[in-house]
Symmetry: C2
Subunit: 443 residues, 2 copies
């Protein structure tokens, strides 16, 4: 008889079925479907709100599958729950031909759900855990892992960006061949942009990776994304701050996005991350890295600069039709030193806001213009509203993503207290964030 | 010898070429390209920042084309500039078999640039002007036109939404068969959502139309979009508030988007407008309307309700990683009665903001959650941050666009001062804004 915790997450008739078979989470089991189809693996725990009618089993190859409970199904225990035998860490490190990749855990779905036995939510990421779930990783790189944070990515602030950058720089100095940062997807785009400015032209790849589906779900993208991230970190000829996430609904292709050009464009889809106004810099498919664009920073280019400071006095403000000028005054009164506006269309706001914006710019606040259209580029010389905004000192930020512009401003404000210097930083391309030709089509 | 105003907008060598040929804007000309290709039409004026090397000619069929100045090109004047002969208005109205369509001008590229002779920027839209540019319209509907506003759409406020709704309702009461609203593209999505709530289940189609390229540019989309809009307004079997804009880069297909589901997703592309989390309700191609989704409101369905009031006490606020709780207090202090948050991912904000949000909700402010991902739907039950936000009274708005949620809130706040009633309005589908199944793919 299983105790409550031994069937964690299973409810209703599936729970009854498992209990009557005397199996527990972590047991090795064999499931027979429609009398002839047999599946062997380790019974995994479930989560709140997952589809309740499924039994989830981790296969010997490390992937999870979900089997729907129906009439013609049987289950039997092959072995009691046990900790799997690990390939000892010392043996992994004795493969000197493989590159060394350091994985930094910061929290989020990818780091928290990877638990070798029960899949229970815990923000832990050890090398042993990883290799027990995704044994392929041992053939790609010599891994070490560390936990920097265990937090939801929506709680990250510019202060966490600094700490992440500092941790990566430590690994750079240790001479590892690549760094992977496991990160929650909600603000991964912002963090990737932040590290793009903090670690310019790094000597090694810095690859953010997340998961849109937790690893207990049959459709989880954790393993495939992580394999691609480790491959790029250890083997890519380019050394860019980038994001590795599914390119499409299939498991076949992982897109490698530039850190300053990537956006979470869907709440839940596995291919939620998209390069905006440019193409992904590379793809990972069939075990190979395929480079997609030119002018990438090469490994060991020798031009590395490290500057991890960020200001918390930048504000991202989306324009909307009923907006009044008061909000600009409030932001100014709260001591913010810069505002990125997500304007309409080519970079506009209502003309009634212009006097207030002019006032705060005169007072030394940086105001930069991006577009809430997301795709395309601002052009403030086409209509008189744009020209008038330029006249009062609003800075046009071309095709920079609003989110990236906000992150860059946070970084720029930490580099200088001189508004002209900040303006110069904002309009100078630093990490591929600015000025590429837009593709005419939305991807 | 042409005077300065007679070659308006032409500069450099193109101006020299035209001047030496003795032609003026408005003249009927014949241009010979590569010795054998001949183009006849009326010479149009140009605009600041348009490609300087092109000569623009309006063809007899009403479309403009741009001809690049190159070596093997000749031009000769066929006739002096003259006002074209109009088909008299009385004759147009004497085609009783055609539906009556009223066009309301509010400003923007589509209304301001349509000038029959010079294309000069003026916010005028008369029936005569329209028919001289797009003669096909006379075969589609009996038109009348009126100017409600002459403004850039970024200057629109909830007060203009009310006035637009009232004007449309006047036309409904007059018994016209359809209404077209010519509108600037910057905030057309917001206005279309507004009229979707103000004019529910209207007896006739209400079709917003704009242009991404001004009509003096060879690539202008004014004429093709307007033809589709008039066709839908006069002939569609459905009576929905919708937006007619190019579906792709070609001139072949115009998409008809639901007013509550459409977003300007590119700053300049002709196919910038996209239906989000759903398909366009119809397409216009080859002179025909092709219906694309079910459950549309039929013409004359008899369920029309008209309520044009909007509150200016709604706020749209995008979450970003460095956000502090102060901004919520400031909005509350300014007397706003509702806030739509564009949260991260499935509908999150930093946990540190929760106490302030809880405080203003207790004080009677409505707080609704959407996602800055744009595509997909919020689901606040998956992670603890979302669950905690639900607990303090944040309202999850499912797959509603942030911009539509803001407009709907502005409308809801004008319907009731009771926060529970506002919450009920916000979570009840009214005009297709809420609760359709998301398509798994981004379009």
């Amino acid at each position: 008889m299983s105790s409550s915790s031994e069937l964690e997450g299973y409810i209703g008739r599936v729970r009854d079925f498992l209990r009557s078979a005397g199996v527990s989470v972590g047991d090795e089991v064999e499931i027979t479907v429609d009398e002839h189809e047999k599946v062997k693996g380790v019974l995994m725990s479930r989560y709140e709100l997952a589809e309740p009618d499924y039994i989830v089993v981790k296969l010997p190859n490390g992937y999870n599958i979900g089997i729907r409970l129906k009439e013609k199904i049987g289950i039997r225990k092959l072995a009691e729950a046990k900790k799997p035998a690990f390939r000892p860490f010392s043996r992994i490190q004795s493969a000197p031909s493989l590159p060394r990749v350091s994985i930094i855990g910061t929290g989020g779905t990818i780091a928290s759900r990877i638990d070798y036995r029960t899949g229970a939510v815990r923000p832990v990421l050890t090398t042993e855990d990883l290799l027990s779930i995704i044994p392929e990783l041992a053939n790609i790189a010599n891994l070490d892992t560390s936990i920097l944070f265990s937090m939801f990515s929506e709680d990250m602030t510019p202060s966490e960006w600094s700490k992440m950058a500092e941790r990566v720089d430590e690994y750079v100095k240790k001479g590892v061949d690549g760094v992977v940062i496991a990160h929650g997807t909600d603000t991964m785009g912002y963090s990737a942009a932040a590290l793009s400015f903090a670690l310019q032209k790094p000597p090694i790849p810095v690859v953010f990776v997340g998961a849109q589906r937790s690893s207990d779900r049959p459709s989880s993208d954790s393993a495939t994304n992580l394999i691609a991230a480790v491959k790029v970190a250890g083997h890519a000829p380019f050394a860019e701050v980038c994001v590795a996430m599914h390119h499409s609904h299939s498991d076949d292709v992982i897109a490698i996005h530039r850190g300053t050009r990537v956006r979470k464009n869907h709440t839940s889809s596995r291919d939620a991350f998209r390069s905006v106004n440019t193409e992904p810099i590379a793809f990972y498919a069939n075990g190979e890295i395929q480079i997609n664009i030119r002018d990438l920073n090469r490994r060991g280019s020798g031009e590395y600069t490290f500057n991890p400071r960020f200001s918390d006095k930048a504000f991202l403000l989306k324009f909307f039709p009923g907006m009044s000028g008061e909000i600009f005054e409030d932001i100014w009164l709260r001591g913010y030193r810069g505002i990125i506006i997500e304007g309409s269309g080519l970079g506009h706001v209502a003309r009634r806001l212009i006097p207030t914006i002019e006032k705060i710019i005169r007072d030394g606040v940086f105001v930069g213009m991006t577009s809430q259209c997301i795709y395309g580029r601002v052009n403030m010389r086409v209509y008189s509203t744009g020209r008038d905004l330029l006249k009062i000192g609003v800075t046009s930020l071309d095709d920079m993503l609003p989110e990236t512009a906000y992150v860059k401003l946070s970084w720029a404000l930490a580099q200088s207290t001189d508004i002209d210097e900040v303006r110069k930083i904002m309009t100078t391309p630093i990490a591929g964030e600015l000025g590429e030709r837009s593709k005419p089509h939305m991807v």
